[in-house]
């Protein structure tokens, strides 16, 4: 990489210019070219609509979780410990993959046995491109939002789609 201040030719990936010691890292950052990219790079997760997460205790059973998903009309619920910290996520996909047709009489079984432990999360201060990265690379439909280990919101693929299409319409 050629240093913009002194013209010295550095090795690619150098953090500072070897000749004049000017930092070079800022030139590696992508530059936003349109309002959508601008928003993805700088808007934080808290700018999205906060969906109060549906949580359930660790002691709950699959039956409880199913009832809760029905009454709150969500596809994924967060499993928290006694202190309110996130320990796992239980979604319709877990139900399909691990429960139905695999085990008999599952209503009474504990949820911790079938949930996905330690899901990928984001913090409220992370930028939106991190949410998209996790969702797209990991193939997740729901990404929980944490603040000090406690869930404060949950972002679904449909929320992201709504946000992006609104941006496109405004742009």
């Amino acid at each position: 990489m050629i240093c913009p201040s002194c013209g010295h030719k550095n090795l690619p990936g150098d953090d500072v210019c070897r000749h004049c010691k000017q930092p070079l890292t800022a030139f590696d950052l992508p530059q936003p070219e349109n309002p959508v990219e601008q928003s993805l790079m700088f808007d934080q997760v808290k700018t999205l609509k906060q969906n109060a997460p549906v949580t359930i205790g660790q002691a709950a059973t699959i039956g409880d979780a199913m009832e809760m998903m029905q009454s709150t009309n969500v596809g994924a619920i967060l499993v928290v410990d006694d202190a309110g910290r996130l320990v796992g996520i239980f979604s319709e996909r877990d139900l399909l993959k691990r429960v139905v047709g695999n085990v008999a009489d599952f209503q009474k079984l504990p949820i911790t046995q079938f949930m996905t432990p330690r899901p990928e999360c984001v913090a409220t201060t992370d930028t939106l491109n991190f949410v998209l990265q996790k969702m797209d690379a990991g193939g997740y439909r729901h990404v929980p939002v944490l603040e000090n280990g406690k869930p404060v919101s949950i972002i679904s693929a449909r929320d992201m789609l709504r946000f992006l299409t609104r941006l496109c319409r405004e742009a």
């Binding site: 992508p30 936003p32 349109n34 309002p35 959508v36 990219e37 993805l40 790079m41 199913m66 009832e67 998903m69 029905q70 596809g75 319709e92 996909r93 139900l95 399909l96 993959k97 139905v100 047709g101 984001v122 913090a123 201060t125 992370d126 930028t127 491109n129 991190f130 998209l132 990265q133 969702m135 797209d136 690379a137 193939g139 439909r141 693929a157 449909r158 992201m160 789609l161 709504r162 992006l164 299409t165 496109c168 319409r169 742009a171």
Partner: protein
Amino acid sequence: MDLTRNLINETVSRLYPTQPLLVQRTSPVADAVKLMREKKVGCVLVCEQRRVVGIFTERDLLRRVLLEGKQLDTPIAECMTPDPVTVHPKDSISSAIKRMQKGGYRHLPVVIDDKPVGILSVKRIVHYLVEHFPTMVYNLPPHPQPIQPRREGA
């Protein structure tokens, strides 16, 4: 902007919708569940003489089978969502997104004259949108805070 224009000009076929999984309307729910689990997908299309008559998704499994206390050998026609909203491969991507958002669907069957040719999922559309700004999404560090709490190495 590119993306706004592409959403209107490009068609659903550009997204290469995944091959649909098909079941007969008389087959039991257990078959559909097994198929969905093996292929790792969230929905199957219910057909009668190669025409789509319904869709059966994870949500239907929860709502219409498990919570209603039905057995897994119930015919799928009793617990599917009949006459789902569909798209044609020549429809624009923005119209597919609109239909998906209007009904709050995650999956839309892609059909030509009622014959199933694919499934379009919300994740596929999010992936398509992400492809328009790869540097913003893919060129990211594994952790958002780049500063290490302590010095690396010995």
